[in-house]
Symmetry: C2
Subunit: 335 residues, 2 copies
């Protein structure tokens, strides 16, 4: 099953609604509307049907996923219902990011990616990357969807894309094993972890983050595909202005996806609707290829079975403020 979110007109302006892709693969169906009509047919009064359907199918995908079985059943019914009056016309700008994640953690699980990146910098990767699935928290409050313009932050002159598989958490859990973690995966999406390389490399020298190198925005979409509907070896492609720059396969990952989920849950709560990124597939960014993006570039990420996530890059403006370097107080005292 493929699930997304669409912007639908409402009395107080457009609102986000969860949609299921119909089994014909062409039409998006409003899940809440299908659920409301089903309740009415079962004898529930009209206003109560609307109230219950809103509770079972909220506009937030993270909240919908947290709803669990009643939401999944409603979505399955919707995917079968492409002939009714719940079909949503999908035009440019209609589809939102399918997930409004409660949190967003990004790993670095493809060895080819980090080995190439470190060696381009003249270094071998640190041993810890082979010992632990190392990760950082990225910005869950700056997620953009398919078709949205990716802002180019004013403090950067070197923008890049990163081709990643996004893992969507379905059930709460703490201290899972790789075996038990499998059942906590709701589905998968495409993740473009856009990166401002110049500031990212500077701030990673401080061994924190990265922060400004990543947090301006990340792109997710166009669909979340439930875990049952995807294979283990997915072709992954990145195109810039129609030219293929990156090509790889999901099963070249060094840390398995259940290992990533299990380690994410060690000693802390996994929350339904959380987004985990695998990290960049080998060769899946311009940095590894010695290439940079330019303002206006159209970046398309395609993952087999999920679809194509297309975003156009904006242009940088003038910084509002740039930090002025501080002097080392202790060095001054010594001299």
């Amino acid at each position: 099953m493929k699930l997304g979110r669409a912007l639908i007109p409402g009395g107080d302006g457009p609102v986000a609604r969860v949609v299921a892709l119909a089994q014909n693969g062409e039409q998006a169906v409003d899940v809440r509307r299908v659920e409301r009509l089903r309740l009415e047919r079962a004898g529930v009064g009209a206003s109560a049907a609307a109230r219950i359907a809103e509770a079972v199918v909220p506009g937030s995908m993270a909240a919908a996923i947290e709803t669990g079985p009643p939401f999944v059943e409603a979505a399955q019914q919707a995917a079968l219902d492409a002939t009714g009056d719940a079909v949503v016309a999908i035009e440019d700008g209609t589809l939102l990011a399918p997930l409004d994640p409660s949190s967003f953690r990004d790993f670095m699980a493809f060895a080819q990616h980090f080995e190439t990146a470190y060696r381009l910098g003249g270094a071998e990767p640190p041993e810890v990357l082979y010992e632990l699935p190392v990760s950082y928290l990225a910005n869950h409050e700056a997620i953009i969807g398919p078709g949205a313009e990716m802002p180019w932050p004013s403090y950067s002159r070197h923008m890049d894309y990163e081709l990643e598989l996004g893992i969507v958490i379905g059930k709460p859990g703490t201290d899972l094993t790789p075996e038990s973690a499998v059942d906590h995966i709701f589905g998968y999406t495409i993740l473009n972890d856009f990166s401002a390389r110049d500031i990212q490399l500077r701030e990673m020298g401080g061994r924190l983050g990265p922060s400004k190198g990543k947090h301006f925005a990340s792109a997710v979409g166009p669909w979340i595909v439930t875990a049952d509907a995807l294979g283990d070896r997915l072709e992954m492609i990145a195109r810039v202005n129609g030219e293929t720059w990156s090509h790889g396969y999901s099963d070249s990952i060094m840390w398995s996806i259940p290992e990533l989920v299990a380690w994410a849950s060690a000693g802390e709560p996994l929350v339904p609707g959380a987004l985990l990124g695998t990290g960049t597939v080998g060769g899946g960014c311009g940095h590894e290829l010695g290439r940079q993006l330019s303002p206006g570039d159209v970046v398309e990420l395609e993952i087999e079975g999920i679809g194509v996530l297309r975003n156009t890059l904006g242009a940088p403006g003038e910084p509002a403020w740039t930090p002025a370097p501080k002097r080392r107080a202790v060095q001054e005292e010594l001299t």
Copy 2:
């Protein structure tokens, strides 16, 4: 004004409510109840008064702060109303973390702290720490409040506290300057950025995060003090089992608080209810002092004008799963 959150009995179990500390400094007052009674006195029907009061004073402090002026006015009225029937009895376990932050970003803005920490490791701090206010995103989904037990993660044998000032964002903004940022600060709280030093040092070798070294939980509280009610030089103290380990002042910070807020907003949205940490005050953790915490230790952080944040440390259990190291694929091919 001091604001917090308390657990109040409800028909479906305890619920979180926003409380204001009365001007006598002794009683906590239920802000929503004061607002509901005010509306009723103004002629609003009883059920409508309850509905409006719930909308103006939600149980989430982040949502309450996002409400803006109507919430602040209701809280000010509540602080004056310690004699009415809206007083909440504060017992052990009543006060929750005052903030359920939408995000949590931690800086490293006190030079004495990072200079000591780097020099203990035999290195000088990297230049970037003087060039940029470097930060990372911490776990906004694992915040505990005053009195709560701090879990000791199973994968660590070296636990530490960190004495920090927490900055609470009041208004949305992007690309602020230090001058314009001041108006976006709602208030301040005490932040204990508990740290699992052994795994933190390992994963920072991968130049990402830290993640598992920090994300198990952070403690916040007991109150949020609005920005107008605090001075510029706040005494900061950490005690372990009653013994003073750390002592410093907030104005020893290298990057100013408006600079931290401005840089947090560069190229990305600041969200009301976001939490920013200053980083540890100089000498404000056991690592700098060559001391470690033990299971059962009682850690008290005190910041002048805010109060005392007290947490007891739990004991580690057995790990559910530990990652097995991977081998370097490329090295294997070469040998």
